[in-house]
Symmetry: C2
Subunit: 375 residues, 2 copies
């Protein structure tokens, strides 16, 4: 392949500037896109500086490049667009799938990304296993984190059930969410209790992530059946029973948490409120607080939100945690939901962040939420 | 992005033809490359039909496409090259990293790929865990498969140690090698005994696969230090001890196998011959039968191959398995090695296949080798 083997892309300088490069002698136009361009501005037709969803790269000989100085330490995703064709950076092997799209990952080291990095600390074990559901009498795949020392400690651990969003699956939190790295680092730093984290698949119409079930290499879809019809929430005890049976858990309410992002927030809200003796801790990250209109009938489970939550709090909740970004399309519905909690007089932790409905926030919320648990 | 959301690529027809498509209105030349083109021919300058490493795609409007009828059921990898720029297929989320390169995967269903598919059979658990080595007093990552039923059966299992090649890591056999799918299917079909499979990282200069250790997002390299200097082989008992301590194994020689591809074949050969009481079964897949010249001094471990193997067989070997492709660059050195085994008068199984030094063969060898074990 006609590519400069010595080319480095992306290159992070000691002063934190990041240079992206692509060997493309025939190209007429090369763009950099992804959340790496989040702070970039370009003039609009009237000459006013505006945020732009891409940065144009500049040609020098056969190589196109651009250097950004705005990338504070964090985990980013990006792609190139070469004459209208999306491509991953051929010099960067770090890629990740987010629902229907494969992008490059870029970890800019520093304070803001320290908990996402693999550090020289004791590491937990991550496994992909299968549990059986009575829903369609099948096996369903889940990802399970057990903390460093689990294999030999003999002790029992509390459990966090951590749920993905629409279009996601049991790999989302471990891959895009850096859950294992965050847990390893926070536990090693004494910021979080050692715990087991169970990351199930919330798409009852599927048995596993794309490519991991008998459907073969189908392309991922949003809006699968049975995502917001109450089936997942009503079958959730199967996952808890599987976990308590196969792992050394502390099998009581105050040692169980459920948290999720977006659709996983919906699942966390209604699983915990419809099983008020199951979870002591609840986390709603950019949550859909009511089922999104998908043409499916709204299940009975979702009918009496306020009444359910009142009964849930009467039975006891240790911590109820809500976080959302100011640019999130679910911001307003979360505001209505918080007003409902206020009118019920129930306590909750509320964190408002920059940005919108994206993994940058969900990783940060997890880092913020874990220290709240099981203490 | 200007891309036709309804575009399907690759599309496998009912008659087994595969069509690749790319929306690229500005492109002047689009190629399809990867082992999907293995059986394609094109005329050379003299008009003679020759094998080619790519197929030229044809433009129709804004979409480039090509249809291949030569893709028998198997697992393939491919990429596009758009005006000289390598890109993955933006309509196919199935990608896999092979050392330094990210490519698309295509599973053509049928008899030849049946064991690589996720089928509706009981599934084992796959975990990424860490063991401690005295080499540099660090934790090293490994991938471990436990068969379906392991969690509840109470019984003990034999163990296969399955080793990767140069540039590979502890993710190679599970991702490129489809080890979990092959094990699930062969065990469910009664073709292989239920077993534990341990897939360690054979690069002693690294603690884990790229991105999974504290080095951060470095790019993968061939020719790392300590790959062929005997350090891995001499520290291998640490991996066996870790496995026997943490899993329900049958901790004896006749319930242990070691097999590997290329450099992993070297490691299997010399780990088993230098620890003649450890492994009853040995598998050499396209093996480097002597250390490749890397400028490193040749360790004592590698000095007396024939003598070591004679002593190994005197102590007892259940099965010794060798497989290689006729186009492999290691074919000749394997021929010399087989002559050495013949002159020693020791028995072995030998399988010669089509193709060369590639995953197509290593997956097929694993399917062929597993039924030999522990019976």
């Amino acid at each position: 392949m006609p590519r400069d083997a010595r080319m480095v892309s992306p290159e992070v300088s000691e002063t934190g500037q990041v240079t992206f490069r692509l060997f493309a002698p025939e190209a007429k136009d090369v763009l950099l896109t992804g959340n790496v361009t989040r702070h970039e501005l370009a003039p609009d037709p009237a000459g006013k500086m505006q945020k732009v969803p891409f940065v144009r790269m500049v040609r020098e000989g056969d190589v196109w490049s651009v250097t950004l100085s705005s990338l504070t330490p964090d985990l980013y995703t990006y792609k190139f667009v070469v004459d209208g064709v999306e491509t991953v950076d051929p010099n960067n092997v770090y890629t990740v799938r987010d629902v229907k799209s494969v992008q490059n990952m870029l970890l800019v080291p520093g304070d803001g990304s320290a908990e996402y990095m693999v550090r020289d600390v004791p590491h937990g074990t991550v496994r992909q296993a299968w549990y059986r559901t009575a829903f369609d009498n099948s096996e369903r795949r889940l990802t399970i984190y057990t903390p460093a020392g689990y294999e030999t400690s003999g002790r029992s651990y509390p459990v966090l059930y951590l749920l993905h969003g629409m279009g996601g699956d049991e790999t989302a939190w471990s891959e895009l969410g850096r859950a294992a790295q965050i847990l390893d680092n926070l536990i090693a730093g004494g910021k979080a209790e050692p715990m087991i984290v169970v990351m199930p698949n919330g798409n009852m119409a599927r048995h596993a992530a794309p490519g991991q079930d008998a459907l073969g290499q189908v392309q991922p879809e949003f809006y699968l059946p049975h995502t917001m019809d109450g089936v997942y929430e009503s079958h959730f005890p199967e996952i808890v029973e599987y976990t308590d049976r196969n792992f050394r858990t502390v099998p009581d309410k105050d040692s169980r948490a459920v948290a999720g992002l977006s659709m996983g927030g919906l699942h966390s809200l209604y699983t915990s409120s419809s099983h008020p003796d199951m979870f002591g801790y609840v986390g709603l990250f950019s949550a859909a607080v009511e089922p999104i209109q998908t043409g499916q009938p709204v299940a009975e489970l979702y009918h009496d939100r306020a009444g359910q939550i009142r009964r849930q709090f009467e039975k006891g909740v240790k911590k109820y945690y809500i976080a959302i970004g100011v640019d999130d399309f679910l911001y307003d519905s979360n505001k209505v939901f918080r007003a409902e909690l206020d009118s019920l007089g129930v306590p909750y932790i509320y964190k408002e962040s920059e940005y919108g409905h994206e993994w940058t926030n969900w990783r940060r919320y997890l880092v913020d939420f874990l220290p709240v648990l099981f203490r």
